[in-house]
Amino acid sequence: MTTKLFGERVQRREDLRLITGQGRYVDDLGRDALAAAFVRSPHAHARIRDIDVSAAVDVDGLVAIYTWEDLPERVRDPLPLLIPHPALTHGRTAYPLARDIVRHVGEPVVMVVARDRYLAEDAAALIEVDYEFLKPVVGIEEAAQGAHLVHEDVPGNLGAHLVQEVPSASGAGAREAIEAAPHTLAFRLDFERSASMPLEGRGVYARWDPDDRSLRVYSSTQTSTSVRMAVAAKLGLPLPSVEVIAPDVGGGFGVKIVHPWPEEVLVPWAAMLLGREVKWTEDRREHFISSAHERGQVQHVRVGFDGEGRILGLDVTILHDHGAYTPYGIIVPIITATQLLGPYRIGAYRVEFSSIYTNTVQVTPYRGAGRPQGVFCMERTMDRIAAHLGLDRADVRAANFIQPGDFPYDQGLIFQDGRPLIYDSGDYPESLRMIKELIGWDGFAALKAEAAAEGRTIGIGLGCYVEGTGVGPYEGGHVQVTSDGRVHVSTGLTSQGQGHETVFAQIAATELGVPLDRVSVVTGDTRRFGYAVGTFASRAAVMSGNAIALACRKVRDKALRIAAEALEADPRDLEIEDGMVRVAGNPGASIALATVAVLSNPLRYAFDEEAKRATQFSGAASMDRPPVAEGEEPGLEGRDYYSPVRSTFASGMHAAIVETDPDTAEIKILRYAVVHDCGRLINPMIVEGQIHGGVAQGVGGALYERMVYDAHGQLLNASFMDFLMPYATEVPFIETAHLETPSPLNPLGIKGAGEAGVIPVSAVIAAAIEDAEGITIDRMPISPSELHELRGRATS
């Protein structure tokens, strides 16, 4: 069948455009727009005494300079706290331009608008801000002591504190269970900061139309619908007068789900005020110091277990570095705390986190969103248990697995969507069998001995994770078949290069029985679809994919109804293939979907040849009914929404073999294997691409990337020279195998795949290095320099 496209390795339709320079990113638009630039704080913590713009006003081409004082009501208010939570007792967000106090290097203080970006930067460089230094608060543990405060009214720098506890089957608390356990271990783990670091930074371009008093905003965002609502509210505009479009977006990875950014409010505001087009394109340094980071945590673990390594009690205390502000609430530490449990059935669990303010860039989700830290904690724990008992590391994991018969499995916790953490499906023992086979787990001891005989040091590591994907509340899809037979699909969530144009088209083509090239897909454009949540939490395929499928089914039903009438057949006998509606088993009786679209819209005017068939004297319509029957609407189109009761849980296991150089301490990944289960695969090639990208970012987090803050709160490596994202040369070949346990929660049986690849990489690499070196690895990332120091400590 030509139209059965769901599950096929269809090549990405967006790639030709994107890789031949035909993509349209925000900075490609509005060539004549005025340019904005920002004066940003050079200090981590300071009080603004005075802002002197006098030297800047003479710059030729300067249009405007704004400080907080200049901002009108609402625009000048602190930015919204997007996800309130009862445990976030001291949530704080920034002003769009600093008011009195700056709390991290990079915080915007003054906005400059000029004829072009060069001149805007010239003017910005001439603005003098007089600062009174305040004590910078840097480092999670120092901040947690609370000797100096980031926000005067937040004692102990404690933004949020949350405890979740799941007692054992016999009712024992985790601490009690640990005391009673035959074996216990206690240790500390550290995980450093990294960041989403999309190759395209943020960007906003706003056009105010003074004639019809409307605003169009292009933003490099992961949620155009919510930016639209935020901008309309801030600027006091009626919602229908504001449109927000996410054009091609060069990566998001989480940072662009945060909104509205200061610039997303200020650029449209300035455009409206000046009656001119205004654009701001973030540069790399700005991205480093004024967007968002993630990952930084310190974890204290206590675990009690039996002789087979089964965990009887687990008690984890997490210090989470939240940076200077909490616009995205405490989603990251909540995910760490809940997803830490992975594929395991734990006796009793207690988790406590404290979310701490520091004078550093704010922390919001980055691909994986707290999971890499949680998985690091759990998988390091599994390895420690195995080492303690002298057991095989895979066997210890297997002893703790939730079994295939246990689903749905309730972990007894509350997840990031405020709903119970209930796993819908999975097969962890099979996953483990597959990964062991793929990497050659059982034969590794011999390989290691062989290498040792040649003077080489190699090691193997394993890591498992479960990822809650496709969180609610909902997404929608709209599908329209036009009279030329083309299918126009739109959904409100945005794309950052994932391949939505391809997979959503595959879904629509399969559901409607049309060739792929008849289907076009638009995402993230509020002119086409106004209701949406956004692209994050590995949710696009699950949420919009299902919504589009449901909308297609409505369209299909309607098409069959109309075709049945035209063909004088029973709709139940009809099928659609290759864009033709046919009576099954009677190839002669058919009608093109295009014609059905014509007939679906009763016309008075024959604007073209085809349209004649739907006009009043064509004899097509029944005379006993109104042309648009009750309950019907003109047109062959449908809209539907998908809103799940809760998330669906994907899972996977990774394994790696690394080699460490005995002389130079260089660390090389020799092999990297992934077993991945995201339910039914819409397009295995795209899923593999997502895995590859995720693993690449995971390798970055494990071996290369960190945010190096000094004691003054200066970010020492705020450029691609010193913040080391892995190149293609650092990313190993990735061997992949798929397992498909469909989700029972949604019509397509799918689970999310976007973030998975990154999640267990640090845990896996740490385990492999530990195995190679025989040195405990309890903090990531790790560099050759650090491995060298660890070796020194181990031998001294």
Partner: protein, 299 residues
């Protein structure tokens, strides 16, 4: 990340270039491949008021093997020097080092002479010039030319003997003598990055195939390339039997590198020892093989 305003000059001849440079004096900067200068301009770490683009001065685009060495003109790109068979025959260390400089796209633009004038102590080519005792030829308007030996050319991190108004017109890398071998070893965080540590080594054997001279220039080990003469440590032993661990220890004792966010001082010291010894060992091996497959005589 936009540069501040500057006057842009695009001369077509050497004479014109020197004239413009003389006029600009301390406010002028030469733009060669731009792979180092453009980022500095964009970050406003450099703000010259005159930018003198030499990319149209085609007379500077030369690579010549003569007078016992390789003379590289100011417009010769890394990639061209790297691919030149004549260069590889005369001085294989250049190609070996260039393959470790950045990535192909950057080598297509970046120039050898620009790299020397830029004088980054982590860069490969300054170490090569140093270990080979090469020189840089500087010219100024109305002032003729002067050759500055490598030992005097690098004066500090990102500082060279090139004075305001001067243009580096070429660099000279002496050829490898007979019974000699060379090697470049480095460890960078990622492929193509500036190295955390590295060493350019040249070993010359005597007629009995014992090490007569062993020199190594280390990158990222000090403010300028650090030249170490290891001839004493390796002296008069056959290449194959040398105690390379002792060489590594000797190197570590002689250097005093600094730590940074990528490598502690201790690691850098350790690594430099490893790499210097490794480079010397490979160079000694090459020298031996060179003796095996040739009959002496300059290559």
């Amino acid at each position: 990340m936009k540069p501040s305003a500057f006057d842009y000059h695009a001369p077509r001849t050497l004479g014109e270039t020197l004239e413009v440079l003389a006029g600009a004096g301390p406010h002028g900067k030469v733009l060669a491949g731009g792979q180092s200068l453009i980022p500095l301009l964009n970050m406003r770490l450099a703000a010259p008021s005159h930018l003198v683009d030499i990319n149209r001065v085609t007379s500077l685009d030369t690579i010549a093997v003569r007078d016992g060495g390789v003379r590289v003109g100011a417009l010769a790109r890394h990639a061209a020097v790297e691919r030149s068979a004549a260069v590889a025959r005369a001085q294989p260390l250049l190609g070996a080092a260039l393959r470790l400089v950045a990535h192909p796209v950057i080598r297509n633009r970046g120039t050898v002479v620009g790299s020397l004038v830029h004088a980054d102590p982590s860069a490969e080519l300054p170490a090569v010039l140093t270990v080979l005792d090469g020189s840089v030829r500087l010219a100024r308007h109305g002032g003729g030319e002067r050759d500055v030996p490598a030992g005097e050319f690098f004066t500090g991190p990102l500082e060279s003997a090139t004075e305001p108004g001067e243009l580096a017109v070429s660099a000279f890398f002496p050829a490898l003598p007979a019974r000699a071998g060379s090697a470049f070893c480095e460890v960078a965080r990622r492929h193509g990055d500036y190295a955390m540590a590295g060493a350019a080594a040249v070993v010359v054997l005597d007629e009995d195939l014992r090490i007569a001279s062993a020199r190594v220039a280390c990158v990222s080990a000090g403010p300028v390339p650090v030249l170490l003469d290891m001839s004493e440590v390796c002296a008069h032993r056959p290449a194959a039997s040398d105690d390379w661990d002792a060489v590594a220890r000797a190197v570590r004792d002689l250097i005093d590198p600094e730590g940074d966010i990528h490598a502690t001082a201790g690691y850098r010291r350790h690594l430099t020892g490893v790499l210097a010894a490794r480079a010397l060992r490979i160079a000694a091996q090459e020298a031996t093989e060179d003796r095996d497959d040739a009959t002496g005589g300059p290559r």
